[in-house]
């Protein structure tokens, strides 16, 4: 029994260490707030960060598949502008706003995926260029002044509670759960890992690598669109560039959670604490009233140290054999 447990632990993929770091981050947060904060504030933090949580899951998927998507932030901004413009405060238009903005998100993911997969282009630059194009697109569309507003009914996804559970948090957790199931329990998910770790082997094993790549970029954009909608529900207004900061944050959260850039390594179970660690850190710094310069410094140091700890323990330094 014990050996069995031991063996399970040795080859376990659950990133326990990240949860350890999360615990540390929570303690630090409470310590900084001198234990005055009520634990329900933590639930609120989960609620408020559902957009980041979801977009980080999206980013993790792409990283697992061996890519990267620097256009998620722009997609979120686009969804914000499109959905508010289309809903224009009218509850009857919610469906229209949601479908059209998610449709655009899917289209962007499709273009990203096709260019990356079909023409074997580096996703780092392609998605970066895509972000610029999207930005230009919504400037042209809005002429600089975003229009429209949200019907109150729509804001339920950010402000609503089911008893003690915030709906936004629920959406986040269900996205996590659903994609975990897909990633670990379906052939498709396996194919994502295989394609990410070695596209050549994947191709020679009859895995439709092009389809996998395109679909993952589409899924990523779709999730970014969803995150953008929830963010919009939070903000309640259209505003250019609301999603921009989410690109780098989603990558940082994925990596803090143990996902690697080389593809095929990482889990969604790590991304969840990764996101919370990032935002708790941010809140801790606000509470401690650290000025911007100090925030910048401590954020840099803490992320580096956390990823460093994570990496170091995961892969003990060893000179490799042939």
């Amino acid at each position: 029994m014990l050996t069995k447990w031991n063996e399970n632990r040795r080859y376990s993929k659950l990133p326990l260490r990240v949860y350890g770091l999360l615990l540390a981050a929570i303690l630090l947060f409470f310590f900084a707030a001198q234990w005055k904060v009520s634990p329900s504030h933590l639930i609120n933090i989960v609620r408020q960060n559902a957009p980041l949580g979801i977009v980080a899951i999206a980013q993790t998927l792409v990283l697992l598949m061996g890519g990267i998507d620097l256009s998620v932030g722009a997609v979120m901004s686009l969804t914000n502008i499109l959905s508010t413009a289309l809903m224009a405060g009218n509850p009857d238009n919610i469906l229209l706003g949601v479908t059209v903005s998610l449709g655009f998100a899917l289209l962007i993911g499709f273009v990203n995926g096709i260019i990356v997969a079909r023409f074997k282009m580096p996703p780092f630059l392609i998605t970066m260029a895509m972000a610029t194009i999207i930005q230009g697109g919504y400037y042209v569309y809005t002429r600089g002044i975003p229009r429209g507003s949200l019907p109150d009914a729509f804001r339920v996804i950010s402000e609503g509670w089911l008893g003690p559970v915030p709906i936004a948090g629920l959406v986040w957790l269900s996205v996590w759960g659903a994609l975990s199931l897909v990633l670990y329990k379906t052939p498709y998910g396996r194919h994502v890992y295989i394609t990410g770790a070695n596209p050549q082997t994947a191709y020679l094993s009859g895995i439709p690598t092009m389809g996998i790549t395109v679909s993952v970029y589409m899924l990523c954009s779709l999730l970014a669109g969803l995150a953008g909608l929830i963010l919009t529900a939070f903000i309640g207004v259209p505003s250019t560039g609301v999603g921009d900061s989410f690109t780098l944050n989603s990558i940082a959260a994925s990596v803090v959670g143990g996902t690697s850039f080389v593809g095929g390594v990482g889990t969604l179970e790590g991304t969840f604490p990764g996101v919370l660690i990032m935002v708790l850190l941010q809140s801790t710094l606000t509470i401690l009233n650290i000025p911007e310069a100090g925030k910048s410094i401590s954020q840099g140091v803490v992320i580096a140290v956390m990823v460093g700890i994570n990496m170091r323990v995961r892969k003990p330094k060893r000179r490799k054999t042939a």
């Binding site: 329990k185 379906t186 020679l204």
Partner: protein, 512 residues
Amino acid sequence: MQTNQNEVILAGCGLCKQFSGNPVLTGVSIACRRGNVLALVGENGAGKSTLMNILSGGLMPDDGRLEMDGEEIVFSSPHAAKARGVAFVHQELSLMENMTVGENIMLGQEPLTGRRLISQRALHREAERILAEIGYHVPVERIVSELTPAQKQMTEIAKAWAGKPRVMILDEPTSSLNKTESDQLFRFVRRIRDEGVSVVLITHRLEEIPLACDDVMVLKDGEMTAHERVDRITRDEIICRMVGREITNTYPARCKALSADLLLELRDVSLGRELSHISMAVPRGSVIGVGGLEGQGQYELARALFGIRPFTAGEVLVAGQPARIRSPRSAMRHGIAYVPDDRKLEGLVLPLSVGENISMLVLKQLCARGLLNRRKTEACALEGMESLRIRAHSHRQPVASLSGGNQQKIVFTKWLQFKPKLLVLHEPTRGIDVQSKLEIYELIRSLTAQGLSVLIFTSDMLELIGLSDRIYVLYEGAVSGQLCGEDATEEKIMQLSAGLGNAAGGGEVPHV
């Protein structure tokens, strides 16, 4: 064998090594002597590469010590070992794909001009000289990624030799070489031995041992089980020490008559300028071998069959029906499986586990209600490991941490799970130990008995002769002749390989 002074250059005493708690070497001692060639043999995963890594500074032993010229020494890095004259040609090639052959060979010792800048001209001239010294020709200005595996292997050896080492360790250097090339290598090895270099040669082709080696050392499960002069030990004894029991018959009996029922037929297929008008027939339940010198179109033919770079002309018939094979997926739909020659790049997914690699082609079958079933996937993985005796601690271990031979077996198992009708094997036993080889041969035979056909591309002459029911020999992208299993001899094959047709009814239309 004129033995020279028995002076020991590099020695390891009582070396021990564990990986995550699993002992791989337990108290092995080894001595590399001046002017001596030591053959190191053992099953896959016996610890040969690990031992050599320790000798050459790639790994630190957990216990035991190294001595050089009688003094204790600690190599902190491969660089340190190299500086002391210990060169190691790794089992897995370690060339810089984006550099030229010459730049690779001279890496770290580039000739400098007066202004301390690299002289590219002198560099390539020098590289050419080193290659000539070994007795090979490889175009020195070619980018490495464009080379054949054999050319890469030679470049690798030249690179090691460029540093004028006193101890040269070669880890399975012949696994990607054909007979002529191997012979050339052995001539070189004998020559540098006579110059006083100490050579350690790891190989799974036991017949090569007498050709070049003075001593044999056998490893089994991380322990030394024999250390003898070559002339005092027989091949069977070596095998016995390796596996712990006696093995006699190496090649299983071939099937008597080829079936008239063709599973695959190639009619006049061509591929650009690389393959021209090839016709071949693969009867059901047979093993068809394809031989020839390196680079005569074997690589292209194997890959075209699997749809990676499809034929540009001609007809392919699968089970009598014309088939359009445009991609690996369509090849798989026709029941074709392909075990590629480069396992790391094309056969495995290194960060994933043994089980995930084995089951990757049959995921659909392992599902229950659309979701992967844990019990089924585990059973699949365990059965796959069992069938080829894959040596791993657990099916959840990452494939990257397995020994080379075991990795090769995983690629093999993976494709067997797929239950193909035609198995295209490209150097299937590269780096596999004798016993496992035998097991694979037997497996191939038992599969053919059940109606599976096998098309095997190999540079191992004995394997080609021993296993094939019919042999096609390629020369410059065309079939230069075919031989029936019984008639095949090394000479005939060599003749055909050199483009000297008509050796044995070569060129006849391949019908049964």
